[in-house]
């Protein structure tokens, strides 16, 4: 129960952060990706601020033996670069550039009631389901999970 409340609060703060930062504005995201034209560097500061806080916070939190509300930390351990990682990132980046949406802002953006956001959100969900139905089981037999 407490973990659920923690999840809700983290989500709310994350959503406010995405909104304030301008990530929820697809035109602004595409402005960031337009390095060769009219470049808006704002999102580099969003990423820089978020990574900076996480860089410090991660080190402080991981000094603990366990999380406050759970038995163990569940953090990815892989360090290898494989074709799924790179291919997936390229496909994701292409979709990001086409639409101006990545998953977080597309979900937070549902709050603003714009029809185009719902169109993107539904297509994104279909993309997830298509992956799970076609490539959801890795060659090793391990079920695919995203970080």
């Amino acid at each position: 129960m407490q973990q659920n409340i923690a999840g809700l609060i983290a989500g709310i703060v994350f959503g406010i952060g995405l909104s304030i930062s301008g990530m929820v504005n697809p035109a602004k995201v595409m402005g960031f990706l337009d390095f060769f034209g009219q470049w808006d560097p704002s999102l580099a500061l969003v990423m820089g601020g978020a990574v900076g806080v996480y860089f410090i916070g991660y080190r402080l939190v991981m000094k603990r033996a366990s999380p406050v509300l759970a038995d163990t930390f569940q953090v990815p351990t892989r360090n290898d670069l494989d074709s799924r990682l790179i291919g997936g990132a390229v496909l994701f980046g292409m979709g990001w550039g086409l639409s101006g949406y990545c998953p977080g802002p597309a979900i937070t953006g549902l709050a603003f009631g714009m029809e185009q956001t719902f169109v993107f959100f539904v297509a994104m969900a279909v993309g997830v389901v298509v992956f799970k139905m076609t490539m959801g089981v890795k060659p090793s037999g391990q079920v695919g999970t995203a970080a």
Binding site: G22, P26, V46, G93, L98, S99, G100, A111, A146
Partner: protein
């Protein structure tokens, strides 16, 4: 290159909040705040231990509501992509993030914050791919 529409203060404040939210989820629940991973699990056949995930996603929407109720300028939000781009883009984002095990939050914020080689490699690839698509759409298609 021209620099336009630069909003450093709101970008930095928003980024700090995003980082704080991700640290909170790690500190309390021991989990990575990877939105594509959380979303993928919520709409999968494996519904074990999913209540916190669903509530995290509900929180993302509530955060948007809170910002707009608190005076956030939703009228500035502009979606230039047409319906075909939104549909193709959504399919690519959904499929690609599952194939590549993460997105801007899991690989970008948490991955780079943990100094993960996979997070850094993914982030370089999706930013480059996005930049190439934006450049191509503007120059070749004229969009």
């Amino acid at each position: 290159m021209d620099i336009v529409n630069f909003t450093p203060l709101s970008a930095l404040i928003g980024g700090l909040l995003i980082g704080a939210a991700a640290v909170t989820l790690l500190w309390l629940n021991g989990r990575i705040a990877g939105i594509s991973g959380i979303f993928g699990r919520v709409i999968s056949t494996d519904q074990s231990d999913n209540a916190w995930r669903l509530l995290f996603l509900v929180g993302l929407v509530l955060g948007g509501f809170a910002w707009s109720l608190g005076g956030g300028d939703t009228s500035a939000i502009t979606i230039t992509a047409g319906t075909p781009e939104l549909i193709i883009g959504g399919l690519l984002v959904g499929f690609g993030t599952q194939l590549g095990s993460g997105c801007t939050s899991g690989h970008g914020v948490c991955g780079i914050g943990r100094m993960s080689p996979r997070g850094l490699a993914s982030t370089i690839c999706y930013i480059m791919a996005g930049a190439i698509v934006v450049f191509a759409m503007r120059t070749m298609v004229g969009a």
